[in-house]
């Protein structure tokens, strides 16, 4: 479960500032504190430890090189780091041969995503800032919610979503598009 209170955030902001100044000790501390979060996300997306490790390594090299662009006033340090890791994972997925990709269309995965409260780690969704996201996800149509969650957690493309959800490509694209539109409106409080 990811906990990030104000103190933790300030500490991460300070570490990122020191990393931007070329401080490798701070970089090591940042890695110690955040790599389990990023590795968990990468394992969820890539499903293969060797890929997840490669993506993690690349991600932290990017963090070192881009820490100067982190803006504490406009970003959250964990969200910024997760963004770097997810984009690297997406790049890696695109570079791999499609045959090596594990498309999991098992009922277990879909059920877990449809009802996150059933999984122990997903209890975190009940907390604080995550509550609204969770609430919004629960108000969405099932196929829209599942397609968004599969795309986010597994890094699926539209084509892979169509395969996993056994639906035509155009239909899946429409689910994703409508799902994002609904989610944005809900997050902004424009719909209940």
């Amino acid at each position: 479960m990811i906990r990030q209170d104000a103190i933790e955030r300030r500490q991460l902001d300070a570490l990122l500032a020191r990393v931007a100044g070329g401080d490798r000790r701070a970089f090591s501390q940042l890695y110690e504190r955040t790599s389990p979060i990023l590795f968990g996300v990468l394992m969820r997306m890539l499903r293969r430890p060797d890929w997840a490790q490669a993506a993690l390594q690349d991600s932290y090299i990017r963090v070192w090189n881009r820490s100067e662009t982190y803006c504490a006033e406009r970003s959250d340090p964990i969200a910024w780091l997760i963004g770097i890791a997810r984009y690297r994972a997406l790049d890696l997925l695109r570079e791999q041969h499609p045959d090596e990709r594990i498309i999991d269309d098992s009922e277990a995965v879909l059920l877990q995503l449809q009802d996150p409260a059933q999984s122990p780690e997903a209890q975190a969704i009940q907390r604080d800032a995550i509550e609204r996201l969770d609430r919004c996800l629960r108000t969405m149509r099932e196929e829209e919610r599942v397609s968004l969650l599969l795309a986010y957690y597994q890094g699926y493309s539209h084509r892979e979503l169509a395969q996993a959800m056994k639906a035509p490509l155009g239909t899946v694209k429409a689910w994703v598009r409508r799902g994002l539109t609904h989610l944005r409106a809900c997050l902004l409080g424009e719909v209940p």
């Binding site: 070329g22 968990g40 994002l180």
Partner: protein
């Protein structure tokens, strides 16, 4: 296309953050972000989605990565920094020659140091003037050259500045040795530490090659053999308090040579 139009920006940014924007469309979006072809509304919309979607990662249990992952990152970083050092060798030679060019230029035109205003960009033209001045400098002019008092190189980084003192010991000049990567929405600030006055702000350090900062040496510093320079990381525009608010990035050794 007009990417200020939210009808275009919103779905693009959302699909990019989610990861469903692929191929040429994804590259085009990244190009728009990098190139500033769109105003910041596209970036703001992307940040909205990155922040919100990252909350979904709260449902993922953290996992300890393999121990060798950090060792590999450390090695990759060493290799990258070594490559940087190789690349720096050329600028380092340039730094050496640039040091005398700076001195020669200032000697040939005593007022030149005053021509370097805070934040003024003079890459290219400054170098030309300095080379010409060096070619015509006389022994008397050499004696009147400013004294180099410190070269500050950030640890594990290419960021470096040369600090010199005018012949009358009243004016400090700080010149960036290289173009540096974007410092982001932050500034690096130079301080002078003296036993008599503590930390005295000198100004924001330039981050473009040949760009310089010129500042009067503060008064009442006391024993000049005890002065040290310190660099701190600050919000954009510098410390709002008159004292460092961010981490101190580096300091010159004790008994600096002013």
């Amino acid at each position: 296309m007009n990417y200020r139009d939210p009808r275009l920006a919103v779905p693009l940014a959302a699909a990019y953050a989610l990861g469903t924007l692929r191929g040429a469309a994804r590259r085009r979006f990244e190009s728009l972000l990098r190139g500033g072809q769109a105003d910041d509304s596209l970036g703001a919309e992307l940040r909205f989605w990155e922040q919100r979607l990252a909350q979904a990662a709260g449902a993922i249990a953290p996992m300890a990565p393999p121990a060798e992952a950090w060792a590999q990152i450390d090695r990759l970083l060493d290799r990258q920094l070594a490559a940087g050092v190789s690349a720096l060798r050329q600028p380092a030679r340039r730094l050496h020659s640039w040091r005398w060019r700076l001195g020669a230029g200032l000697a040939a035109a005593a007022s030149l140091v005053l021509a370097f205003k805070i934040g003024e960009r003079n890459a290219g033209s400054a170098a030309t003037r300095l080379v010409q001045a060096r070619a015509t400098a006389s022994p008397a002019q050499w004696r009147a050259m400013p004294m180099v008092v410190a070269q500050m190189q950030m640890p594990a980084s290419r960021m470096a500045w040369l600090i010199s003192l005018s012949p009358d010991r009243r004016q400090l000049s700080v010149v960036a040795a290289e173009d540096f990567l974007q410092v982001g929405r932050h500034s690096v600030e130079l301080w002078l530490r003296s036993p008599a006055r503590g930390l005295v702000p000198l100004g924001l350090l330039p981050c473009t090659r040949d760009e310089s900062l010129s500042v009067q040496l503060p008064e009442g510093l006391g024993d000049q053999s005890q002065l040290r320079f310190t660099i701190s990381f600050e919000p954009q525009g510098g410390s709002p308090t008159g004292q460092p608010t961010g981490p101190l990035l580096m300091s010159t050794p004790d008994r600096s040579t002013i």
